[in-house]
């Protein structure tokens, strides 16, 4: 990804005469790899989402899809591998070593780099989590190859057969497609919930390729002293919530944001927010939805007073049903919402809260 924003008008000229041809010795790189992120016995769901996406890319390339598992000798890596097959992997590269228990940059960078050098994959995908980004940046630098962060769409470019990775740019006001043409592997990170969770097929099987790290604890400088689990686990529910009610600057002031919380409470929903609202300090940063916040795909997303800039859109357009409440009939959010009410959110929200409360109470009483 370019640190210097590209000139939107002449990307072709910008790329002219450089890094466009794949050297002969890199043509043997084959297959799609997904780094399977796990911590304290649980695989991060973004890894399964990536296997779903990786499956499509591997099929387009006529190549195999592999899961990559690094972990401690006593961690259930075989169980994770079985899950990886169920989510689409053909095989798993497994590296077990006591040094790899609990994520640390140095041994994981060493391990993944070693696996890539041995296995020569064409594409390596990682979740854009605090672990995946930490690791991807280090591995890509060590391998001196291209890495594209926070992709929202991955496909194979028909002309070059290269990975075409699309991501928002300019703080989420435009999208750009980035390719690594002359280096291998091609690396990309994708944020949780950006890709769909694939269906699980537990009848699928695969094979394991074991590899060793060759690193002793004494040479690892950084020590993991402790892991303090979040007390407020609520924060983590946002990305995987079924129903989300979000508010934006159209609510005018922080006091009015309470209307969003009230509707959320009636629906048992999570509260979300747009970037301007978080920057203004109305809502904590963990609630931000969008390119620089969380990506969500709930069954129902209600956006009140949010205009729908790309920054926000890329974080929620995967939602099943999008409802927009905005007093500007021309707001971009109505371009991709399914239902909308054009009107003052301060009027609509209380009415909607009351109507949902009454409707659900009647239905619940009938059911009881």
């Amino acid at each position: 990804m370019s640190e210097t924003p590209p000139n939107a008008k002449k990307p072709a000229a910008r790329a002219a005469g450089r890094n466009l041809e794949l050297p002969e010795h890199l043509k043997s790189y084959k297959g799609v790899w997904v780094f399977i992120e796990h911590d304290r016995g649980v695989v991060h769901p973004v890894s399964w989402e990536l296997l779903g996406e990786g499956r499509k890319l591997a099929d387009m390339q006529g190549a195999q899809l592999a899961g990559v598992l690094l972990g401690g000798a006593d961690e259930p890596l075989d169980r994770f591998a079985a899950d990886a097959y169920a989510y689409g992997a053909d095989l798993c590269y497994v590296m077990r070593d006591p040094v790899l228990k609990g994520y640390r940059n140095e041994p994981f960078t060493r391990g993944l780099t070693k696996l890539v050098k041995e296995g020569k994959p064409e594409i390596v995908l990682l979740g854009a989590t605090t672990m995946g980004r930490d690791l991807a940046g280090s591995v890509a630098t060590t391998l001196a190859t291209g890495l594209t962060a926070d992709c929202t769409e991955l496909t194979i470019d028909p002309a070059s057969r290269a990975l075409a990775a699309t991501r928002p740019t300019f703080g989420g006001s435009l999208l750009c497609t980035i390719m690594t043409l002359a280096y291998r592997p091609q690396m990309a990170t994708v944020r949780p919930r950006v890709m769909q969770m694939p269906a699980k097929d537990s009848t699928r099987t695969g094979s394991i390729i074991e590899s060793s790290l060759d690193m002793v604890e004494d040479v690892v400088v950084t020590k993991l002293l402790d892991f303090i689990a979040d007390a407020n686990s609520n924060k983590n529910h946002l990305a995987y919530a079924d129903v989300i009610v979000s508010g934006g600057k159209g609510l005018k002031n922080p006091e009015n944001f309470a209307l969003v919380r009230e509707l959320a409470s009636v629906l048992g929903a999570e509260v979300g927010a747009s970037r301007p609202v978080v920057q203004a300090g109305w809502v904590e940063a963990e609630r931000q939805i969008g390119q620089t916040g969380k990506t969500v795909r709930p069954k129902l997303y209600i956006a009140a007073g949010i205009s729908g800039a790309i920054q926000h859109r890329v974080g929620m357009e995967g939602s099943d049903i999008i409802v927009a409440i905005n007093n500007d009939a021309n707001a971009p959010i109505f371009d991709f919402a399914h239902y909308g009410i054009v009107g003052n959110a301060m009027q609509v929200l209380p009415a909607l809260t009351e109507a949902f409360r009454a409707h659900l109470a009647v239905r619940a009483r009938r059911a009881a």
Binding site: A140, T177, V348, A355
Partner: protein, 283 residues
Amino acid sequence: MHIVVCIKQVPDSAQIRVHPVTNTIMRQGVPAIVNPYDLFALEEALRVKDQHGGRITMLCMGPPQAEDALRKCLSFGADDAILVTDRSFAGADTLATSYALASAIRTIAKEQAVDMVFTGKQTIDGDTAQVGPGIAKRLDLQLLTYVSRIVELSLDERSIVIERRAEGGVQVLRTQLPCLVTMLENTNEMRFANMDNMLRAARFSVRKWNKEAAGIEDVTKIGLKGSPTVVSKVFGPKPRTEKADTESLEHSSPRDAVLNLIQKIFTRNPGLEDELVARTVVP
């Protein structure tokens, strides 16, 4: 204690507008600011200096006008500032950027050994979070990303204990200096610039290094040439396919509008209605 803080000058993204017809960025008049995430890195470095003494060198790669961003950091209390600026750096992706910055830090270290490097967790224009890890790898520094707190720092033992944001919790790590810290946002609050520092910053002679002065050894690793990633296309969001099914309060009462809306939602997904009902506590 010698700390290098890396910053970037970025356009204030809150003020960027996209041309509605051509889908190009309208940059005219968009103010340039210090990448907001970098200020958390600078403040944390200043706190380390407050406690342990030492010296803070600011480092920035960018066009000549990025000097303003460095001056801003000097006004908060940084001691020295270097702008790495050369036309040959243009078009650098994160790999080429980390090479140039790592080379400059090596050159800085020849004047005085570097104990810690601080960066923000990412920039607001690139949003990649890749340059910090890249610099650390190139300089063989212990990498500490998404740091929320420095728990303990001992210069005698050259050891540091930090907390870093992980998925679902916080990792507590101990490592040895030299290290690179990428600082998480909202972990501290930038101090006010005092008058002395503001006057000093205004008069300060920011050092400008071209590629030779920065100690770039391999010119094929900088700028466009040193960038494996190629931007093949820049485009706006997909044009609308279908307009939302909307109801306006100009024509209906809020009550009618919301009742219709609920009807539409539950018709489209009846299962959702059952789930919400199941969650509802009967009064």
